[in-house]
């Protein structure tokens, strides 16, 4: 594929040095755009074949019955909505995504400011240390968290006992488990917010702060009237993007609790896996994961608005 398209580009470009007539210039432009399209073809094929087609196929699958040979319309969706356990999934997914993103954004914001105070070589070292959670593959670090939360060998509980407190069943009760998965996600994602916000902070012109300082603005006023407005865009886009990713998260819950205790920590993704792959009910699993779609589409719409603006700037 790649070889073929480069050749097309080559033959089009070979024409380029001497466009004598208007006709051949037109032809050249047309050839160039054919070559350009050819270079994009692998990408387009991949996106259409493995992203767009499966999305529509999921809609089709979700309307079949369990044996996948008769059409049942929206029955799967209606059935899911009537199940109390699925209500828990909706609740937990929203709680998980919103709480975790707020925590990540907040911690990331604080970290970015602390880092911004430190300049030069030191900053690289600190940044490197703080990025470690984000660098380790999530499934492996979640496994470590599981071991840290282990009911009988938990190192956290040992520390608590040592300090004179009682052991906590971290993954044993509903709310503990919910907090635990949110905490792990926050731990994993906060560094990403930190580097994004740090980049944004660096792009705020120093003169603004100088001017504000001369006008007698305090630290708080500088934050509210300069830093936040200047970072507004990047905060929005990071939060939206992270909401999408966190909402669709799979690894943490799957490994840490696998939905337990009593299905109270399942997210859409893990529930869809349990129903669709493990229990083998493909249509119902597809319908579970499609419940994410309206929420993700709404979020994506806002992200895309921002992205379109950027594209206009750079492809024009």
């Amino acid at each position: 594929m790649a070889d073929g398209s480069t050749m097309v580009a080559g033959s089009a470009a070979a024409m380029s040095p001497a466009p004598r007539q208007v006709g051949s210039l037109k032809k050249l432009t047309r050839r160039r755009s054919t070559a350009a399209l050819a270079l994009c073809m692998p990408l387009i094929l991949m996106v259409v074949g493995l992203k767009i087609y499966p999305t529509f196929y999921a809609v089709f699958l979700s309307m079949l019955d369990r044996k996948m040979n008769s059409f049942v319309g929206l029955d799967n969706f209606i059935f899911m909505l009537s199940r109390p356990s699925f209500h828990l999934v909706i609740f937990q997914s929203c709680l998980f995504a919103i709480t975790a993103v707020v925590m990540k954004a907040f911690i990331g914001f604080i970290l970015a400011h602390l880092m911004h105070n430190i300049r030069g070589k030191n900053q690289r070292v600190w940044r490197g240390l703080l990025l470690v959670p984000w660098v380790i593959p999530l499934s492996l670090s979640t496994l470590t968290w599981w071991w840290l939360f282990d009911p009988s060998y938990s190192a956290f509980n040992w520390t608590l006992n040592w300090l004179g407190f009682e052991s906590i069943p971290f993954l044993g009760t509903t709310w503990n488990a919910r907090i635990a998965v949110i905490a792990v996600n926050t731990w994993f994602g906060a560094p990403f917010f930190m580097i994004m916000y740090l980049a944004a902070l660096k792009s705020v012109p120093e003169q603004l702060y100088e001017a504000a300082a001369i006008d007698g603005a305090g630290a708080w006023q500088r934050l509210i009237f300069i830093t936040l407005p200047m970072m507004r865009n990047i905060i929005l886009i990071t939060v939206l993007y992270s909401l999408i990713v966190t909402f669709a998260d799979f690894d943490i819950v799957r490994i840490l609790t696998n939905g337990g205790p009593q299905d109270s920590t399942h997210l859409f993704a893990t529930y869809a896996f349990t129903v669709g792959i493990q229990s083998g009910n493909i249509p119902r699993g597809a319908s579970v994961s499609l419940f994410m779609f309206p929420i993700l589409a709404t979020l994506a719409f806002f992200v895309l608005r921002d992205v379109l603006k950027r594209n206009k700037e750079i492809t024009s």
């Binding site: 990408l43 992203k51 492996l140 994004m196």
Partner: protein, 298 residues
């Protein structure tokens, strides 16, 4: 405002410090203190991962005293894994899958980014935005229909399925990064080359790739990270141990029944986490620059 760097230089000359400088010095100290707390919290799991990996099963099951510190460090877990055929298989699978995915993703991404940012054709903007939109369609929405699709292709429980699917996770963002870097190259550069009779492939290879090398490094690291750490697709589509990659291999195969050999599991995690950690240690600056370049431009 000469910035905090100046403050650091001023520290030795304490007498001359004004109140503003003193204030800043305290801000700096406060930042260090607060950051230290965060670093300690952030590094608890990796630290414990390494500590546990050095413990023997006996030390773990008969826990005496402080679990945070290893009492009798042993390399047995690492030696066992390094000579274990099963684990070698996971590691090798991860390596070749990741290598192929990185090559495929970067080829698709660079070609598309070059075309979208420079050659331009009807609908190229639509494609650029559409690609980003599909990046926002998460794998957890697609893994069930894809199960049917790869099933009909006969790729279930075949490691090659990952070579087919992982690029979908990496390519959109790689293309995105590359579009940003390519369009920051001045148009005059390739116009001059065109006038001198260079062909588009020559322009790409001789101008764009060398100039945008930092972006290429960033995108490559991204593709590597995604392919090395992905968990959902291999978990859903590979069920036998010989086809597994590191992530599922460790999570699913090493945890057997109720015998929790945590020392060995953690040693496996250390070995599997080492390649990305090493790569980031050396190339983090490129990656951070690539990641934040697009975001701060607007």
């Amino acid at each position: 405002m000469s910035g905090a760097t100046a403050t650091a230089d001023v520290i030795p000359v304490k007498r001359k410090m004004g109140s503003l400088e003193r204030q800043r010095l305290w801000a700096l100290r406060g930042s260090f203190a607060a950051l230290s707390v965060f670093v300690v919290i952030f590094l608890v799991p990796p630290f414990y991962m390494i500590m546990t990996s050095l413990k023997s099963s006996a030390e773990i099951s008969a826990q005496k005293g402080n679990p945070w510190i290893v009492q009798n460090p042993t390399m047995d877990n690492f030696i066992y894994l390094a000579t274990n055929e099963q684990f070698q298989r996971y590691f090798l699978n991860s390596v070749w899958v990741t290598a192929l995915v990185v090559i495929i993703s970067m080829t698709i991404g660079i070609l598309a980014a070059f075309s979208l940012s420079r050659m331009g054709f009807k609908g190229s903007q639509l494609i650029a935005s559409g690609v980003f939109l599909t990046y926002l369609v998460p794998p957890s929405l697609l893994f069930i229909p894809l199960f049917q699709i790869v099933g009909s292709m006969g790729l279930i429980n075949n490691t090659w399925v990952l070579v087919l699917l992982f690029p979908t996770l990496a390519v959109p963002f790689c293309t995105w990064i590359m579009i940003g870097y390519f369009s920051s190259i001045p148009k005059e550069l390739d116009e001059a080359a065109l006038i001198d009779g260079a062909s588009y492939p020559q322009i790409l290879v001789k101008i764009f790739i060398p100039v945008a090398l930092p972006g290429i490094i960033a995108a490559t690291i991204f593709a590597f990270t995604v392919a090395w750490g992905a968990f959902l697709y291999p978990l859903a589509y590979l069920y036998s141990a010989d086809q597994a990659v590191l992530t599922v291999g460790i999570v699913r195969e090493l945890i057997r029944g109720d015998v929790f050999a945590w020392g060995m599991i953690m040693a496996a995690c250390v070995m599997a986490a080492a390649p990305p950690v090493i790569i980031y240690t050396f190339l983090m600056d490129y990656y951070v620059a690539g990641l934040t370049a697009g975001a701060t431009k607007g």
